[in-house]
Symmetry: C2
Subunit: 301 residues, 2 copies
Amino acid sequence: MIERNGIVELLKKVNNLSLSSGHFVPFICQGLQVGIVTEQVCKVLLRYPHVFNVTPAYVTFSPILEGFHQCSQALNDVLLELRSNLEFSSLKGWRDECYEISSSYGSKPFFQIERSGAPIFGIRKYGIQINGYVNHSQQGLCLWFQRRSLTKPTYPGQIDNFVGGGLTEGRGVLETAIKEGEEEAGLEPHLCKNILPTGTISYLHQSDRGIHPLTEFIFDLELPETWLPANKDGEVDEWILCPVNKIFDVLFSKDLKLTSSPVIVDFLVRHGILNIENEPDLPIIAELLHTPLHLLNSVPS
Amino acid sequence: MIERNGIVELLKKVNNLSLSSGHFVPFICQGLQVGIVTEQVCKVLLRYPHVFNVTPAYVTFSPILEGFHQCSQALNDVLLELRSNLEFSSLKGWRDECYEISSSYGSKPFFQIERSGAPIFGIRKYGIQINGYVNHSQQGLCLWFQRRSLTKPTYPGQIDNFVGGGLTEGRGVLETAIKEGEEEAGLEPHLCKNILPTGTISYLHQSDRGIHPLTEFIFDLELPETWLPANKDGEVDEWILCPVNKIFDVLFSKDLKLTSSPVIVDFLVRHGILNIENEPDLPIIAELLHTPLHLLNSVPS
């Protein structure tokens, strides 16, 4: 059923940028690497010497900028100008929502950046994903998927995980999961009592919008077979309950949002559906699900 | 209860060698990296030019050696001589048991190496670990641990995971887990029916015996609270059932075998006991549990 190398190749498409690739330089803040900048982006940043110090080896904020507010404001001004110039496709999706950038999840932020500008600087992002599953009396173990609304700005009409969303400032991880579950799938609070945090997955992805070092906090949630999801925010067009014996049709479907696939694979590995007896590449798969993004936050050599 | 950074520091002691460190060269076989050799080991290998081609950038077998049998035999002869010279402490534990070395788990082997010689060449090793746990009516979730026999050649008297063992040629992964479970803990076949493969963990560890790039296949096994383990091979001195609310006493105990700790941490993460609400370093922890050893098998740059 599983095509040899199929899953490894899929996860390598997600992890399509190597941490050790030489085609970009680190974005450094207070001595720590907070992002990745391509040569093409460096050329643009050279136009703003009052904001960025661009060298062949790294990019930093200009030393004339001090502290959270000065850096955040100057960065936002640059992004607003680039947005009006239409130079970066990612800025077309301007959100008026900021990420706070710090040395590790939850610590004091160095600066904040408009969400749609983060891929330009290859800044680490965090999100949540809920695997909604059913131990079905007839069909056995099944997983819920959604089809994204055709009106969504990113990946319209594609198949996606049950519930997912980005973490933004001022909201906790479990809190975000429960809020997204309620908005996307109509999850009632009593159903969320059994929600189980099962760790994180991480990958480094480059798309036409930029560079995405993403860490997802993963939750498993067993649901009654009588319960049906009900979208509330207009972002879901269809719900699909897939038995695990048909899961590879979803995983290798052209309709699946590429970056949704590691969430499915992680679920299959943890639940023993993918194992070394049926998938000889299991060790590589487990490693590709946990790309060491913490190395991006190390003191650069 | 959890000391801030305590778990990250513990996992960094396990992963005490960086894949990008410059203090060793790759051991290459048929164009693929199969191990890591320190400068000190290179100096010794230079004495055997009919067996090894040692350069400042890499080590390979000499081109005069061809195929599985010639390489394996020549390597074994060198190891036997080094053993009699008492040059490497790891060879004191000569096992007369071989690892087969290939490009990935389960593929056609390039050569075989006596098990105790593997750390000298920093060769990838594979093992199994079973987390034996009980949903106890009084104590809640509990984990079984063993205290290793005082007569074991490695880590005598230390606390270790419930069941573990190395994979050797000619035996499957699940088969090894069941065999070790029976020998170490007296696990009856009917108890093993519920054994659940949950993925792999991997780390790169350097000890006084050499370099250990290790991948462990992890299994969870729920056990009845009335069942007691019974060692059969004389390698276990004591059994300990630890409730999860006391698990950090075990994890940070000086009695715990250091390389057993990632197995415990992985269990705690997957079961939601360690989560982002009580452990801000969860993303780093998940990455440190899955060191990308597959990069050791990439075509070297």
